[in-house]
Amino acid sequence: MATMPILPNMPVLDLVKSFKLKTKQQELLIRVSILCLVYVLAFITRLFSVLRYESMIHEFDPYFNYRTTLYLTQNGFYDFWNWFDYESWYPLGRIVGGTLYPGLMVTAALIYRILHFLRFAVHIREVCVLTAPFFASNTTLVAYFFGKEIWDTGAGLVAAILIAICPGYISRSVAGSYDNEGVAIFALLFTFYLFVKAVNTGSLAWSLASAFGYFYMVSAWGGYVFIINLIPLYVLVLLITGRYSMRLYVAYNCMYVLGMLLAMQIRFVGFQHVQSGEHMAAMGVFFLLQVFYFLDWVKHMLSDTKLFQAFLRITVTCAVAVGAIALGLGMLSGYISPWTGRFYSLLDPTYAKDHIPIIASVSEHQPTAWSSFMFDFHILLFLFPAGLYFCFKRLSDATIFIVMYGLTSMYFAGVMVRLILVATPAVCLVSAIAVSATVKNLTVLLRSKNKGVQTGSTKGSSSSKASSKALLDQSQPFQKNGAIALLFGAFYLLSKYATHCTWVTSEAYSSPSIVLAARGAHGSRVIFDDYREAYFWLRQNTPPDAKVMSWWDYGYQITAMGNRTVIVDNNTWNNTHIATVGRAMSSYEDEAIEIMRSLDVDYVLVVFGGVTGYSSDDINKFLWMVRIGGGVFPVIKEPDYLVNGEYRVDKGAAPKMLNCLMYKLCYYRFGEMLTEYGKPPGYDRARGVEIGNKDIKLEHLEEAFTTSNWIVRIYKVKPPNNRW
């Protein structure tokens, strides 16, 4: 065995030697392969939902996005841009092209076109399903470069790994979650990265690139407001801390002016950059920068400091006065619109609850609980402050940016659950700095003990800390062991993070919420596919121009899957219209029929979980309908539906509750139904009570369809009786 290869061994060895890489090449190879693996990992960890269920679009909003993308690929961009949708908000309709962020749809359609050009005959649905994971993969690359920019390559790599599997991000980017956020987080981080790069280099090219990144972000998601406020804030902080430089001036001016002009091309945003209160901070900082530059120039020209001080005072006062007057005039004349409710509700968490029930009614707009922070960030929550410490220890323009991004987004994440998503990249980056810096310090410590001379020479100036630690080392004999223990601890934590992320992804975030799954009696998986059953029934067996009334949650799904006209949908732009539907649902049947006739309603759809124990049904959402309806029509009063402030559906429920339309439609003939063994008929499993009104008669509506597990019930509005 050994004799055989002796002869050819020599050239092989030479060959191997010639292939042997230098340390730098090795490092590059390892880095590139880690990045490739992370890229693939970020993609495949988001495919749980496809494997568990199928390649399908999830939840509510993605169905609208999918429907518009379908329209875009079938009818072309100009038709899409000018699309007036008659199928939603009947009878008002919706100008789709002017009321959406087209970035996502255009991206998916573009990918679809490219694939077809390359002769990959994929279906547009597959493209839509996989858009979010694809962009998540790209985000890991951006995170790497960003980390490299603010700290070093090690931090970049760790950031890429952390963000690839961070549940906070996965929650919005699993396969099938075809929503704006999927591409927007990529765009957000990319814009920030390009801007920081521009500030660091002072290069026009980078800042131009960041303007385009901003443009893409504006086209993709309303969250661009965060960028247009965070960047001016950052610039302001740099100005205050005396870090003003020509690089900053170039980067911000180019980015702001071009970004603003580009953003105006998006119809939904339009002239908001110059007209809306939310965008005024950016403009103010823009003018402030000019004043700063002017002062700098004057200071350069004037040699007398006293004169300059006086001049400074006058200019600053004038500038502030002019700015304030302009803003005041703009506000008064109505040219500049005040802040919107959504913006207020971000700054003041209690605002929505008191003033805009429609925002407060959405579960993802609730303030975040500690547990969900823990759920979404896990160890990052502890690493984040550590990372901040490292950032403060090595302050630079870039680290100031990441600190500000981290702190502001953490605040917003605390205000609204869904904004955890925005905080995730910052948390990952800051934590990556913590991990990378700690591990680096520890390993340097370990290595310096073995070959203390070498460390100093190879690391050189960069590890002055390390050498100081090495000095400390001699005085503390157990430090090496301590370092090893700490390293193991770090790896243990990181591996826990990885298992936690995988578990969360597979258990919590990979359910499409259209198809519900439960464990059967024998441990087998039971699928409740009732939503699609009902929507497909609507699609096939109702007249094509039928109008369906349902609560707004299901609007997008009914139009996309059922292909029927809806009264209200998830684009909650008209509060009165939604309140009208809420009023109809919470009125008695003969009052409701008037409202329904006036809206030309043919079918009414309700979601009911009493048979299966599905808790997010319309009865549990009903109080919001009452609140929203009552907000516009004072006839509807919330206390009428409550008994001593308690919401109940059993015998002790309020009489108005027991006879309102929603109650009747949900529980119609439910009183005859045996749901659970050993319980009386009409036992509601979602709420665990026997219902209070078992003898429900419908006068103006008739049951048209009920799905096999009763989750969706559809009623037909009867035509008026003959008068003769």
């Binding site: 005959a121 699609r532 059953e533 067996n541 005859e672 139904m673 049951e703 048209a704 096999s708």
Partner: protein
């Protein structure tokens, strides 16, 4: 002189009279039917008629063509006609299939349509033969009342004639009708008419002249669902890498009495025997053996209610639509599956390849109004030709699939009004050079090669302006 003239006169006369007979084509009165028995099966929504005819040649000339007549209203619903002749005697009888072709006769009374049965051996004068004729009607049961509620049962009309429509004299005939249940609301009586259990007997009637017709109307209960596939597109894609991919797009409708009013799930679930008896709950598709990667979905995603049972001889796919289909309700869905290529693709003697596959719809007991079979040949195949046992409309198309440059030739065959009888094999012949199989892998390989070369080039070229 006289004699030859008379001879020619006579010849001319006979020729003329022959021509007259041929032109009128009024079927020679030479043939007569000595005994006819007709059994009409009304149990499902496909009406099956078994006709046994004892044909006798009473004329002097041998004939090999026998005509079948149908009223025009029935012809539109006629799906297939088959004729068999019994050969041999006593216990050694065998059945031989005969050619049947539609025939146009110029002066058919009241627009009667004809089919000609071509006998393999001419029937000499004085001889007689027994023919077994089977024909099927679709859409021939008219629901009445046309709209029913959930708990009502489905009643239908069937219209026919008590006497067999025939261009020949029929000496004796009897018609038996079989209804699915004993519940018959009403029926036309043409004496002698008997009804016993699920069977009705019209006849025997003696000595009826040609084109005798006596309309009858039967109103009875038929609670079997009427699955009608309005349109079915079957696409069979051949890959020489070893797979045959079949995709079938269905537009299914329940063709029975339309559903009216309420659909109550609580009644439907708790009393399935009284409620929605005629609703279509599930369908059975018989697929070829060794089927793999079966899917069942529609425009909005996978449909989870299906079961596949396979054994070595056949595979059965039981599918449930998303919701039970009541009369007039529709459902569209797609079934797809893969099959091993070696079971269906063969090489013919002249070095061509041919696909041997089943025409028709794999769903049991369904009527297909319009069927389109598309056979997608591999890229680079030439001279396609299809051999189908019945007449179909054919044309060629081009389809672009994964990594196609010139596109794949698609042989498209269309046929209307199909019943399960049409599930017979057809062949598509084509020539294909195996070298074309390598085109796509080579394309991919070269694309990757070019990509790596581009990467190499980029790493080694300095593109910066500043030196």
């Amino acid at each position: 002189m006289e004699a030859p003239i008379r001879a020619t006169e006579f010849l001319r006369f006979t020729l003329l009279s022959l021509l007259f007979f041929v032109c009128r084509s009024s079927p020679s009165q030479d043939l007569l039917i000595s005994n006819a028995e007709r059994r009409i099966d009304l149990t499902s929504h496909i009406v099956k008629v078994y006709l046994t005819l004892k044909v006798e040649n009473a004329g002097s000339t041998p004939t090999s063509e026998i005509l079948l007549a149908f009223p025009p209203t029935q012809v539109d619903h006629l799906a297939t006609v088959e004729a068999l002749v019994t050969k041999g005697k006593r216990k050694k009888t065998t059945l031989a299939r005969l050619d049947v072709k539609p025939t146009e006769l110029p002066d058919a009374p009241n627009g009667t349509k004809y089919f000609t049965i071509y006998l393999s051996n001419p029937l000499n004068s004085g001889e007689s033969t027994t023919l077994e004729v089977l024909y099927l009607f679709t859409h021939s049961l008219e629901p009445f009342p046309a709209e029913i509620g959930q708990s009502e049962s489905q009643l239908v009309y069937y219209r026919d004639s008590a006497l067999i429509l025939s261009p020949y004299h029929i000496k004796q005939q009897t018609t038996f009708l079989k209804t699915p249940s004993t519940k018959v609301e009403s029926f036309t009586s043409v004496e002698p008419t008997n009804r016993a259990g699920t069977e009705m007997k019209y006849g025997p009637y003696e000595d009826r002249p040609p084109y005798s017709f006596s309309p009858i109307l039967i109103h009875f209960e038929n609670n079997s669902p009427f699955p009608v596939v309005e349109e079915l597109v079957r696409e069979v894609e051949i890959s020489h890498w070893g797979n045959l991919q079949v995709t079938e797009q269905y537009t299914l409708v329940h063709g029975g009495a339309r559903h009216k009013g309420v659909f109550s799930r609580v009644d439907y679930q708790s009393r399935p025997n009284l409620n929605g008896v005629s609703s279509l709950r599930y369908l059975l598709a018989r697929l070829p053996p060794r089927v793999h990667s079966v899917y069942y979905r529609d425009e909005i995603g996978n449909i989870s209610s299906s079961h596949l049972r396979t054994d070595s001889r056949k595979s059965e796919l039981e599918i449930e639509p998303r919701y039970p289909l009541f009369g007039g309700w529709k459902a569209t869905f797609v079934i797809g599956y893969g099959l091993p290529l070696q079971d269906f693709l063969f090489e013919s003697s002249d070095d061509r390849r041919y696909l041997n596959f089943t025409f028709g719809c794999p769903l049991l007991d369904t009527v297909v109004d319009k069927l389109t079979v598309k056979v997608v040949l591999p890229e680079g195949s030439k001279d396609p030709s299809a051999v189908v046992p019945f007449t179909v409309e054919q044309h060629l198309e081009t389809k672009y699939s994964y990594l196609d440059v010139v596109g794949r030739t698609v042989v498209v065959m269309e046929k209307k009004n199909l019943v399960p009888v049409h599930n017979s094999p057809f062949q598509v012949y084509y020539t294909f050079k195996p070298i074309f199989m390598l085109a796509e892998p080579l394309m991919l390989a070269s694309a990757f090669f070019l990509f790596f070369v581009a990467c190499l080039a980029y790493l080694h070229i300095d593109l910066s302006i500043r030196k």
